[in-house]
Amino acid sequence: MLCRSSRCCWLLATVLASFVVCKAQPCENITDLDLKHSIIGSTLQVRLLLYTRVNATCGHLLDSENPFSEPLLNVTRPTIFIIHGYRPTGSPPIWMNWVVEAILARKDVNAIVVDWNRGATNINYLKVVENTRRVAVNLTHFIQKLQDEGVSLSSIHMIGVSLGAHIAGFTGANFNSNIGRITALDPAGPSFTGKLPEDRLDKTDAQFVDVLHTDMDSLGFRKPLGHIDFYANGGADQPGCPKTIFSGSKYFKCDHQRSVFLFLYSLNNTCPITAYPCSSYSDFLDGKCLNCTQFGSAGCPVFGYDVIRWKDSLVKMDQAMTYFTTNKETPFCKTGYKVDILTWNSEARWGYISITLRKGDQETTAEIDHKSYKFEQYTENSLLAQFDRDVQPAEKITLKYRTGNVFGPRYKLRVLRIRLTPLPLEHKLRPLCRYDLLLLENKEVTFRPIPCEWSNF
């Protein structure tokens, strides 16, 4: 048998089809410019490149006046636009082909890359900001052409990165909230922060607007802009990104670009990232926002491409700020536990807890050190422990209590019960418990967890 699975067949078909198509028509790529163009400035030129499952790696240039002259553009398929942002060096975005391929692997769509590199490449950022309006006019014109041929506006999804997010917003505004969805990946902050909704992306620009913030303290936008706003790792600094300027250009773009990689990762759906609606990142880290009862049986929304499943309830809610944490590289998803600790010390104790889960030779540690927690007698503390990988079921658990004091007495934390409940809570996975532990400061205590039973406290 030549093909063992349908996926294999599809891949083979794609390769063969690409070969046939490519023979017929040259492949178009995003305009490649260099620093010279950036310094002298480039005049705006918008090119639309079509990718489908038949030509997943070979873009076809669309004629904006007569798009249906391209036979692969199919009105019955949904259309996804991918719009890049500011290109200070003129190079094409490295992630563009990955995003296109991941989208096409996930869904049979017309993936249209909006190449406005000529126009986005300019050392003068303000000039590029001016061009966003003109790109939006161009796109509006193109979408009207599609509409004339019977394409439904609600089947259009625009994915905009940085300035591209605002371009999607301006285009959507021209269709009175009828565009199906806008996904904004770290929408640009400079020149847009503090502007009126009509001068930036906002949630009235499409039926559903989902926004990811990864660099709100620098190149991104701080305030919520969509029906749901995801603040990855709090929305400002991303794990694994350099903290000093000595790391070169990575220092400037790493946090901002992480938004694309997080979205790209969400497309392959292997390890969904659950986002928790919360009033602040600090409250989320404190474990105060782990319930998603407002979403009923659907539970907490999942970040990324699949958040569309929560569209109805999110549109009704009007606006939701959600938080999650990620690893510094793929897989970005973390494994979370709600940790409830009940202590019996008659005097209150302060400190941090670290938890290590072990299964065979697998091991993962979570430091719950976001702040010093107060442990009071017979008062249950709920903490959020996030591990960089999934070690389930944990055969051994190691706990460590520390106060952070260099001098002073070595305190003891007297734990009556510790309970680790896997997240998300709506999956109703069975929690792990252990009773009667004495945690000496800075000393590890290892135990075998037991399944929790009923509790009356």
Partner: protein, 255 residues
């Protein structure tokens, strides 16, 4: 004092009875600000300055720039070196005395911190067991897995004298090793031994004030799980292996 003496060390050094260090500084008289001595090199050359001192402001401290003082820095260092090398007592020199004082102060601080950190008693480590007078009982049963019994349904307390005693000891050891329950634990008794099924009773003693205690520490949940987690940790080859799934417990009254 109306005027101020100012002079440079390298020019005239025997006329003013002024200490070397003071020579480079102009001290304002009473309420003086900086004088205009920088304006003229000629006036600076004089051992006694007669230029008018402005007396409006209060005690400004101004330095005097001497035109050429090439030897000043080395001289100060030399003097400092000399002073540090002066003997205080016996063979101990000034610099040694300063170092010893510094080391002494740091050691006292560290010793103090060390003593504080080691001699801090945890209030929960101190308790008066004689004040625990109110009894609390838990009863239940479990099954022994590795014991072979004669197929007889009558109670056999004397079947093996050692067995109930060993089980009693096992329960006592478990609760005596518990951090939270040890202080309240009083007695474990094996009531009946029928086939492999064992009826047990646990006695705890609480202080007079025990409302919260019975709700949390001495709740059925904690007492039961402390025993259960020990049973789950035990070695299955042990002859006193208790089947964890057979364990049950309820809050009981003494009978």
């Amino acid at each position: 004092m109306d005027d101020l003496e100012l002079k440079c060390l390298d020019e005239v050094s025997d006329n003013n009875n002024v200490e070397n260090g003071e020579m480079y500084e102009e001290v304002s008289p009473g309420n003086g600000t900086c004088s205009s001595h920088h304006a003229s090199d000629i006036t600076e050359g004089r051992p006694l300055l007669t230029s008018a001192q402005v007396a409006e402001n209060n005690g400004d401290h101004c330095s005097v720039r001497c035109p050429t003082l090439p030897e000043t820095k080395p001289r100060v260092l030399e003097r400092l070196k000399k002073e540090l090398n002066e003997t205080v007592v016996w063979k101990i020199k000034v610099w040694m005395a300063i170092l010893i004082a510094f080391v002494f102060i740091v050691s006292v601080i560290l010793l103090f911190l060390f003593l504080c950190s080691d001699h801090q008693e945890d209030v929960d480590d101190q308790y008066d067991a004689s004040s625990f007078v109110v009894p609390l009982f838990f009863r239940g049963s479990f099954t022994l897995a590795n014991q072979s019994f004669v197929q007889d349904s009558t109670p056999q307390p004397n079947l093996d004298d050692g067995l109930p005693k060993n089980l009693q000891q096992k329960l006592t050891d478990i609760y005596k090793s518990s951090h939270a329950l040890e202080r309240y634990f009083s007695l474990a008794t094996i009531n009946t031994l029928r086939n492999a099924s064992v009826q047990y009773q646990l006695q705890f003693k609480m202080p007079l004030e025990h409302e919260q205690l019975t709700h949390y520490t001495l709740s059925r949940e904690v007492v039961y799980h402390v025993l259960l987690q020990h049973l789950l940790d035990q070695d299955t080859e042990n002859s006193l292996y208790i089947e964890p799934s057979s364990l049950n417990m309820e809050v009981g009254k003494w009978n």
